[in-house]
Amino acid sequence: MTNVIEVRNLKKIFKLHTSLKNLILGRKKIVTALDNLSLDIREGEIFGLLGPNGAGKTTLIKMLTTLILPTGGSATLCGYDIVRDQWHVKNSIGLIHSDERSFFWRLTARQNLEFFAALYQLPGEVSRNRIDELLTLVGLEEHANTWFQNFSTGMKQRLAIARGLLSMPKVLFMDEPMRSIDPVSTQKIRQFIRNKALEHIKGAIIIATNRLDEAISLCDRVAIFNKGQMIKSGTIHDINLAAKEYIQYELKVKNISAEVIDSICRMPWVLNCENKSRGNGNTDLVLDLTSEEESLHLALKEIIRSNGYIQKCIRKEPSFEDTFIDLIKEFETSRSKNGPH
């Protein structure tokens, strides 16, 4: 599979004046919004940029769409350099902004799309047909002649998607496309992106989001960002698998003494141990075990040996949310120890 986007050591540093005093004194605060990022995005995939607010997702999208110039490194989109070949890059992309207001409010949906189609030099007939097709595709055909200012937030966002697809771009960028949209519209838009949008895009769709459910339901691969650095990238399954350093088991046991619990908790393969008495000799045990196969066997053997009765034993798969939070926490801890690069 060929790469649609290739990013190499891309860097963005902002120099900000944080106060009037600093402005007068000419002092600037250095903020590294993106730090030596290298990343490939392949043809035909929906790629998620995940991370908390301020992680660098929007900065990356703005650089790849030529709206921000990088401080260092390089990136190509469909083979075009994002700094040197801006016009070709612009001809290859569609952008769906996080700001759903970005239309002319006193024009209808159709008039708005006609205007933006002209910016892509679509001939009249092609433009009319495509606008009809896209309005139907996003379910706005009955509102084609309604003023944009009378649209609901969900309708505005769907119109933004139609605009993003107008030029049949090779790469479609979606910056938090579901922000401030109700759950019903969110589901509809997700279905649309998953099932229909990719048919219109010859290259890839890149979605920046801080909603993990969105990434899980839409993305083939994701990259997790925090404070301008990419922490992990890959499929959600692979990231989950790689992040697992222990396996968690939830046990419900009966007739087990405090000494036995203590001895289990002190076993070398038990990384973490929590217990809670439920009364009548019932105890809940949560064990984080090393991934060695023997570890669970030995813990259970200890319970049985002391005449304990195992009512339930459940292996708990860590959710992607857990993995994500762990990765972010791990990153924060290592950053506070080692300092930012």
């Binding site: 902002f14 016009w87 612009k90 970005s102 008039q111």
Partner: protein, 270 residues
């Protein structure tokens, strides 16, 4: 071809938005009739004093002020429309979408300003038409060629200044008010309301460095007194120099400002 299609799209968009505010044109026309009537009666009052400085312009203050006010509308549009369009785009979020499309920077600038000029041309034509028809504005001696040359050079000159202000707005986000005050003052100094000859000598010297001085004088002389291109060649030469200077500077400065905003990541900030 790209330029024409983009320009037409901008004109259509702006026309549709204007039409959506149904009474705007009507209200503006009524305001024009009212203001031209006020100027007519002020003119009658001033003419009774028979000021000698008005003789060069046909002796009528009404003609003097109407021509000045008419062109000041174009001056205002040239100055305001470029930064106004950028600020509107920043406020509505459309600027980034437009700049992420394959629309060239100067195509966007030119196209986004076109409607303002067309609208002002219609409005000023109506203004002069009403002045001629209802208030005896004397423009029968007009030298159309000379007036057009002065007009076009002046527009080029002020478009250059307008683009420079837009560049300033992109980089420093503020400052257009200070620039507008300075330009407002330059309007007065260059003879919008009364001839430059009436100013104290120091201010008269400053007026020589203002392009509007040559615009107002050239337009009034060509429209009210029928001065030919040859008679106005001094004003034409100065305006040509100003136009080349400001257009050149703006062509250099604006892409630089856009790049600076892209480096700072502040293209959409206001």
């Amino acid at each position: 071809m790209d330029l024409i299609r983009t320009a037409l799209a901008f004109i259509k968009k702006d026309l549709l938005i204007m039409v959506s505010y149904r009474f705007e044109f009507l209200l503006k026309t009524v305001t024009s009739i009212f203001s031209i009537a006020v100027l007519y009666y002020i003119g009658k009052l001033v003419d009774k004093a028979e000021f000698p400085f008005l003789q060069a312009y046909g002796g009528s203050y009404f003609g003097f002020i109407v021509i000045g006010m008419s062109f000041s509308a174009f001056f205002g549009v040239s100055i305001n429309t470029f930064f106004g369009n950028i600020r509107d785009g920043q406020l509505t979020g459309t600027l980034e979408i437009i700049l992420a499309s394959p629309t060239r920077l100067f195509t966007f600038l030119f196209s986004s300003a076109l409607w303002s000029f067309i609208y002002t041309t219609i409005h000023v034509s109506l203004y002069i038409f009403i002045g001629t028809l209802a208030f005896d504005l004397e423009i029968g001696r007009v030298n159309i060629f000379a007036a057009l040359v002065i007009f076009m050079l002046s527009i080029l000159c002020f478009v250059g200044i307008g683009i420079m202000i837009a560049a300033l707005v992109l980089v420093v986000k503020r400052g257009e008010s200070a620039v507008k005050i300075a330009l407002g003052a330059s309007s007065i100094l260059s003879g919008l309301i009364f001839p430059v000859d009436l100013l104290p000598p120091v201010l008269q010297k400053i007026a020589h460095f203002l392009p509007l001085t040559y615009t107002y004088r050239g337009l009034r002389l060509s429209i009210l007194e029928g001065h030919s291109f040859a008679q106005l060649q001094g004003d034409v030469a100065v305006l040509f120099g100003f136009a080349v200077f400001f257009i050149l500077i703006s062509v250099i400065v604006f892409p630089f400002a856009v790049s600076a905003a892209k480096v700072r990541g502040s293209l959409a900030q206001y």
